[in-house]
Amino acid sequence: MSDPLRFLTSMGQALSTMSLYSTGHPARERAIDSSFEQLLNLMATDANAQVSFIDGEVVYKGQVIRELKEWDWSTKLAKIGVQRIEFIPPVLREDYDGFLNDVHERLNQAAIDTTEARQMGRASIRFGAIGVRGAETESAVTIATATIAYSLREEVEAIAWIHDEVEEAGTLPLLEAETVVRSLSIAMHSESQMLLPLLQLKEFDQYTTTHSSNVSVLAMALAEQLGLGPREVREFGVAGLLHDLGKVRIPKDILTKPGAFTDSERALMRRHPVDGAKIILEREKRLDTAAVVAYEHHIMLNGGGYPTFKFPRDCHYASKLVHVCDVYDALCTNRPYREAWHSEMALAYLEEKGGVEFDAEIITAFAAMARNSSFQRVVLEKENVDQLQVASPAAPPSSP
């Protein structure tokens, strides 16, 4: 049996085992260890190994692996958008673990946990859809169709400063946060059509900043779409901006850890809603909504997610709204090991979960907003925050 065959077979076995056993179970860990060993064997002879899954066949080094013809996993992986896997040495065991977990979640249509969309280093395992060389794939669409005279540099830097202040000085500079929201709102309305000035993550160390800004913009736009008044719109914008504030209490090495979390690390990550609410409530008297949203934004319509309510109740409307924006932005953000989902794909995911995980009415409004031709999605790359590029309606994000 060849090295690629042994590796792919072990990978399929590992994925099967993962569906049977939870994280940390010895059987699961053994299966991952075994598959990782096969991967190392493969990389010993082919350091930059690449495997593609096309039309039910597995292609390695331009050759179809005959033994894997009509292999179930080939079809399954292609179906969830994993048409190619690329390995870039060195690959660590935790990288491989993270990759398998991500694939496993996508296979099982698990709820998107935006906490996991953290700041990570560049990946040693990349995967995603592929296109025919020379043809334009969706992810390679150039999106610059217009330029507006508005920069988000100040906003981005102000958000980063706010996070630093919370973390280091222990204060929550509310006026600055509100001013950022006011400024984002001005940017949204700076043209005759409403713009969604969303930042595209380029460097993974910028995740928290760009994500906060994007969720704020999306929350304001959605609130407007739902007919809320200007003050509520801004209030929701502030809530969006501060929804992940609790992450300032998570050590940097965990936030930037490549690969999957351990149980204790995951538990720590999952504390951020409580920590966020505490930070806000302990420092500000009038940020009720932002505190509630920070606390509830990972709770699903069906009660799933976290933290668990000890007093059963419906989530606040703003929490439901920000939850949708949070997941959408996380899906549309480049991950170390995968491309950002296209807007339409993310919307389809949200719509599928509408009424179960997300408020159906909000999802409908969100999808309508994102697809509405009167809205323009603006993508800002990190190096180019001075210049907004306006994309055609509902266009996919640019490639990283």
Partner: protein
């Protein structure tokens, strides 16, 4: 779904203001009830001043608008159904007062005098304060009373009145500024230039001292105010002039002027005024100078954002310009307001927001107006163990909106963090909190009971406060029961409140004292038995009946009283054991034809408790007519008194020949009542 709705928007008075108003109302009430110098007045004033001082930490002034049955404070009207606040509004409104303003620095003497003035005027029914000479309304340094004009809520403030009649005020102010700018330079004889650039140059080069700086800053403040209030061509001209002046002043000069010429409050006010109407470039100049003068830092991030937004006030679409302009002005205003807070803690920030929310078209208003989801916040707090200003506000909101029982259910649920639940109890079980809670009849009684139980004796003072002012019989009854349940320890508190208290308070306190197993050793009800009001005398006598040494005196006084109910009480007490010294008074009472016949009949029964010959003879005399020639004795006409006499004779002197004769006559009577009176005399029963 908890989707917010604009239609649902309601505003609630903050807890601090609400407590202050209740304290004020109580204090005013006491001033109408107790004489000047009464110790209770001092404690009431102290409570008001304490609250007021706390409120004025975060605001320069506190204004209370007065409507017929509501007070308007910080843009929020009090609940007209709240009996205490309604009464306060009515009382002030009767004085034709439209508003009341307290300023920072207000002291106990001023508050005491104010309360005494209003209280005394109310008590005597004097001329309403609102129509008294102006100097009477303005005699306090830190308190102003504003008369009600034309029976509506238009306030007649001196400055406003002047503004109405003056024209060209902005021009006059500008001229004044120009003159002031040249102060001391040309010996007062000059032709001041009205050009802003020239003026800026003069100020830049002028030797600056404290007086000069103060005058200039004062003019700037007045011009800023004028700019905000004025309209039309004159306002536009002023805006252009002021903008040019501010941008023409060197930054170091502007900073120095603000530093020397104004305190923090003045600088804040100036920035706030100017931020409303000046071009943003000038506003930012002023903000930075004022921040530097006040040793306040503006974060680099904020400054960059402000500068960025400022650019959009002059570029971009009309919508963008408008959005940027309002965003910037509001931010600057809030920034400046924040400087007045010594400690930028959450509470202080709220104070700032409170002030902002009292403005007219502030963008912040609607945000602050929408009620928070108090139960949600409370649940979140109990789940996470976090508390803070926002949480206490939510707790207070639940209490104030009649959701105390729901709140306590949450605490009892057992899922809350234990230490947090304890913190909640410490917050709820306070005198102020209880005072608020007791005012509202809507609250679940059980919940209130639990708080009282938790507080123990500390609950007595707030309960007594409410007992004094509530007009609700239900509340009063419940309070009396609860206070009684606190036992003997309440006695000294009652004793302290009794002297000098108004009749209805004394009545309640004496009734409470009567319900206690024992009284404080040094307490005596004796002085209250002489009270002018029969309701107080009645309660005092009840207490005296219980003291063996006072019993006889009480019965004697009671029988001799003018009040039928007191007489009845005394007779009831005497029925059990009547002192012989009461006989003559009883006879006097029985002979008093103006008294109710039933009362006199009861007195006759009591008289039987003094079995003397004189009594017997008196009874016989009043039972039958005198013997006449050819005719025998006959009974007096039937009456309650006659029936009582017959009954007493039959029960006490049946064996006496004269009485037996009378009994015999009665037993032959065709009237069954008369027959019954001598055959089966009813046992003496105490009156109901």
């Amino acid at each position: 779904m908890t989707r917010p709705s604009v239609a649902d928007e309601r505003r609630f008075l903050s807890r601090e203001l609400s407590v202050f108003l209740v304290q004020f109302s109580i204090a005013l009430h006491k001033n109408t009830s107790y004489p000047r110098g009464h110790p209770l007045l001092q404690s009431a004033v102290e409570a008001v001043v304490l609250r007021l001082t706390s409120l004025l930490v975060e605001r320069p002034t506190l204004s209370i608008g007065i409507a017929r049955n509501q007070l308007i404070i910080d843009g929020v009207a009090t609940d007209p159904e709240n009996p205490v606040l309604r009464e306060l509004a009515e009382r002030l409104h009767r004085h034709q007062l439209g508003a009341l303003k307290f300023s920072q620095g207000v002291g106990g003497d001023e508050v005491a005098d104010l309360l005494a003035t209003i209280g005394a005027a109310s008590k005597r029914g004097d001329q309403p304060l609102g129509i008294r000479p102006k100097d009477e309304l303005e005699r306090w340094a830190h308190i102003r009373l504003f008369p009600l004009a034309f029976d509506n809520l238009e306030l007649l403030d001196k400055e406003e009145a002047e503004e109405e009649v003056e024209t060209g005020r902005a021009n006059q102010l500008w001229l004044g500024l120009a003159a002031a700018a040249l102060l001391d330079q040309r010996g007062g004889e000059f032709a001041p230039s009205l050009d802003a650039g020239d003026l800026a140059k003069v100020i830049n080069e002028h030797r600056r001292d404290t007086t000069y700086a103060k005058v200039i800053v004062d003019y700037l403040m007045q011009l800023g105010s004028e700019l905000r209030m004025g309209e039309g061509a004159e306002q536009q001209m002023l805006q252009s002039r002021l903008s040019a002046l501010l941008t023409g002043l060197r930054p170091d000069v502007l900073k120095e002027l603000l530093e020397v010429g104004g305190d923090l409050a003045k600088r804040t006010e100036l920035v706030t005024e100017v931020a409303q109407a000046m071009p943003m470039g000038a506003v930012l100049e002023l903000v930075q100078a004022a921040a530097a003068a006040s040793q306040k830092t503006i974060s680099h991030s904020l400054l960059r954002m402000l500068n960025k937004i400022a650019i959009h006030t002059e570029a971009g679409s009309q919508v963008t310009r408008h959005d940027a302009d309002s965003a910037l002005r509001e931010t600057v205003r809030r920034l400046a307001s924040n400087w007045t807070l010594e400690d930028p803690n959450p509470g202080a920030y709220t104070g700032m927001l409170d002030r902002l929310s009292s403005g007219s078209a502030s963008a912040a208003v609607a945000d602050e107006e929408r009620p928070s989801e108090a139960p949600r916040l409370v649940k979140m707090s109990l789940e996470t163990g976090v508390t803070g200003e926002a949480i206490w506000r939510a707790v207070d909101e639940m209490v104030d909106t009649g959701r105390l029982a729901e709140l306590l259910e949450m605490l009892d649920n057992g899922v809350g963090v234990e230490s947090t639940v304890e913190e909640y109890w410490r917050h709820l079980a306070t005198p102020d909190s209880l005072r608020q809670i007791l005012m509202d009849e809507q609250r679940g009684m059980e919940a209130v009971e639990r708080i009282i139980q938790r507080m123990g004796l500390a609950a007595a003072e707030p309960m007594l406060d409410v007992l004094e002012i509530t007009e609700s019989r239900h509340i009063r009854r419940r309070l009396l029961t609860r206070l009684t349940q606190l036992g003997n320890d309440v006695g000294p508190l009652l004793q302290a409140r009794l002297p000098g208290a108004p009749w209805f308070v004394q009545r309640n306190l004496l009734a409470l004292m009567a319900a206690l197993p024992t009284w404080p050793p040094e307490f005596t009800p004796r002085p209250y038995a002489d009270n002018d009001d029969p309701r107080v005398r009645r309660e005092a006598l009840k207490l005296m009946f219980r003291v063996p040494e006072m019993r006889e005196e009480a019965i004697l006084e009671g029988i001799a009283d003018d009040d039928d109910q007191i007489i009845r009480l005394a007779l009831g007490a005497a029925l059990e054991r009547c002192p012989s010294s009461a006989a003559s008074r009883l006879v006097t009472l029985i002979n008093s034809r103006s008294r109710d016949a039933e009362l006199r009949a009861l007195a006759i029964r009591v008289l039987a408790q003094v079995p003397t010959v004189a009594t017997r003879n008196w009874l016989l005399e009043h039972a039958v007519t005198k013997r006449q020639w050819f005719r025998g004795r006959k009974l007096h006409p039937k009456s309650p008194e006659l029936l009582a006499i017959l009954s007493v004779l039959a029960s006490r002197w049946a064996s006496h020949p004269a009485a037996a004769e009378v009994i015999k006559i009665a037993s032959r009577s065709p009237d069954p009542d008369i027959r019954t009176a001598v055959t089966s005399p009813p046992p003496p029963t105490p009156p109901s």
